[in-house]
């Protein structure tokens, strides 16, 4: 019997597999018993009502997906009245993903979702900060630090900062998030990308550009998870293109303590169930008693000084 449990800043997960925000909701419980997951992570909400972006909101690019959904939200009260109670039927910890256009609005929401039944808050700091030229908070270390300070003051719950790949300063942003009060890092959100219909010469997404997810994002997210694990002392939760147990193992070896499975669920709704079972089989085969024995075991002595903080192609 192998031990799949991991600890994320004091929160014990029965296994390291959880859904990525935006690719999971109550509806997945219609396909399988979601109690088997390490955590439940809700779709990002904002305080107020939001319609989201124009359609088409999704298209496929090779074996990956582009989306620009725009965080449609029914607001915080609908969330607290309807969504949080749904998950009380489960023992699996509930992680609530939130976002805000300004640091103060973000912090207010952070305080409002600090309620019974919520185990941790994932702060989606990859969203645009409208007070600072619309660029995502997590693009720069300074705006990351400032927003995390305000969020930290707004809740006693563990804060997971979700970083963006759309930065050239991954280690600096990761350290700024930790210094600002993050208890864990989710690495990472989707990568800004684009697709054009050559017949109509129009963008394939209604919002012109969107976020790339799926297998082609994986090596980028893996590189970032490694950088973040090396440059901070808080747990890293890998996220980006993870579809198989092999992908999960790669992230754990790179230093992630847990992972989020996102787009893969759209292709195979039971992908997480399969990944948990295969991860367990892998550990048995490798005669490892705990999944924790894999974390951060990358053999990188000779190269690490040079590449950890590299942000340019070698």
């Amino acid at each position: 019997m192998v031990d799949l449990s991991v600890d994320i800043a004091g929160l014990t997960l029965k296994n390291p597999i959880m859904p990525a925000s935006g690719t999971f909701s109550e509806e997945l419980a219609e396909v399988f018993d979601i109690e088997c997951l390490g955590a439940h992570v809700t779709k990002t909400i904002t305080r107020g009502l939001r319609d989201g972006n124009p359609t088409p909101r999704v298209c496929e690019v090779g074996s990956s997906m582009l989306n620009s959904i725009g965080i449609p939200s029914k607001g915080v009260s609908a969330f607290l009245d309807k969504v949080v109670p749904f998950y009380r039927a489960y023992e699996t910890p509930l992680v609530v993903s939130i976002s805000g256009n300004t640091a103060d609005e973000f912090a207010r929401l952070c305080s409002e979702v600090t309620v019974e039944g919520v185990a941790a808050i994932e702060v989606n700091i990859s969203c645009p900060n409208i007070e600072e030229d619309g660029k995502a908070f997590a693009i720069r270390p300074s705006s990351t630090y400032d927003v995390m300070r305000k969020l930290r003051a707004a809740t006693h719950l563990p804060l997971w900062a979700k970083l963006t790949p759309n930065t050239g300063e991954t280690p600096e942003v990761a350290r700024a998030a930790q210094e600002g009060g993050a208890d864990a890092l989710v690495v990472a959100n989707t990568l800004l990308a684009m697709a054009i219909d050559i017949r109509t010469r129009r963008p394939k997404l209604g919002n012109l550009m969107g976020g790339l997810s799926g297998p082609s994002l994986k090596p980028i997210a893996l590189r970032m998870a490694y950088q973040c694990a090396k440059s901070t002392t808080i747990p890293v939760i890998g996220c980006g293109g993870i579809s198989t147990a092999e992908d999960v193992i790669e992230f754990l070896i790179a230093g992630a303590t847990a992972v989020q499975v996102g787009t893969a669920t759209f292709i195979n709704p039971t992908a997480m169930v399969t990944v948990i079972a295969e991860l367990e089989r892998y550990l048995e085969r490798e005669k490892l008693s705990s999944v924790r024995d894999l974390i951060g075991t990358l053999i990188d002595e000779e190269q690490k000084e040079g590449v950890v903080f590299m942000e340019a192609a070698p």
């Binding site: 989306n67 449609p72 799926g214």
Partner: protein
């Protein structure tokens, strides 16, 4: 391909009951029905077919065949479901990477499907005289409605539109199910909106119409909204949108709808794909 049974024997109290299947199903046949459309017949388990309703859809994991590598699942409305003989049917037009790959499937191959999904057609107890109006592959979406009307013993008139009489989808099928067929085609010059309006108005005045059903066409939507409002006849429309998850998680497939004086965004996969015809907005 392995068959994944994802439905637990029982779910604990207070929790959602799994009601959506993800399964690899065997292909029984996959043949052209005319120059443009193919019919795919899958062997499906009784418990899956018993959950199906006319108007619902499945999200198909199209195989990597024929040099195609479709990635996202493709939503496809149910063309027919037959619990008594264990068959699930889809009708499709080969249009893109997903359907080109589907067209490669042969008897004995497996296709992974997820469903049934979404809200099907509503047929109220006092809706005795049903009229469906559709064009092209839209007729496929409405075909299970004919099956349901037949099972419920309702009178159905199918106004079937196409470019050419050879492309009139499903009319034999409708006829077998006891529907009255009114074909209209571009080639014969009978498919204009003016002519359709006249045909429908004659039926409103004659035997009467209790409900309209349509799908896919902006022109038919606005025509039926107008006639429906004029005479107080309810109706439903099946709509499409680019989808990803098919379950309601991703919010990719929204469309705008009128609710009172507000416009709301609803998910085609979840609140639909069948909607109230007066709430649907032309696009």
């Amino acid at each position: 391909m392995t068959s994944v049974l994802t439905r637990p024997a029982s779910a604990a109290g207070g929790r959602a009951q799994p009601v959506v299947f993800e399964r690899g199903l065997a292909v029984l046949s996959n043949d052209p029905v005319n120059g443009e459309y193919m019919r795919l017949v899958l062997a499906a388990p009784r418990e899956m077919l018993d959950l199906c309703r006319a108007g619902q859809f499945f999200n198909l994991l199209c195989p990597a065949l024929g040099g195609e590598t479709p990635y996202l699942r493709r939503p496809m409305s149910i063309y027919g479901f037959y619990p008594e003989r264990g068959e699930l049917h889809f009708l499709y037009k080969v249009a893109g990477a997903g359907t080109r790959a589907l067209a490669q499937l042969r008897e004995g191959d497996a296709l992974n499907v997820m469903g049934p999904l979404g809200q099907g057609f509503r047929i109220d107890d006092d809706w005795q005289r049903l009229v469906l109006v559709a064009r092209g592959v839209g007729l496929a979406t409405l075909a299970p409605l004919a099956l349901e009307a037949n099972r419920l013993g309702r009178h159905l008139t199918a106004i079937c539109s196409a470019r050419h009489p050879d492309l009139l989808m499903s009319i034999d099928y409708f006829r077998e199910l006891g529907a009255e067929i009114i074909p209209v085609t571009d080639a014969e010059g009978t498919s204009s909106l003016e002519h359709l309006e006249q045909v429908i108005e004659e039926r409103v005045a004659g035997p009467g119409i209790d409900a309209f059903y349509t799908c896919g066409s902006n022109r038919l939507l606005t025509l039926l909204q107008r006639i429906g409002k004029r005479h107080g006849i309810p109706g439903e429309i099946a709509l499409e949108q680019q989808m990803a998850c098919g379950l309601g998680m991703c919010h990719c497939c929204v469309r705008p709808f009128r609710k009172g004086d507000k416009t709301v965004q609803l998910r085609v996969c979840r609140e639909g794909p069948v909607f109230d015809i007066q709430e649907a907005m032309p696009w």
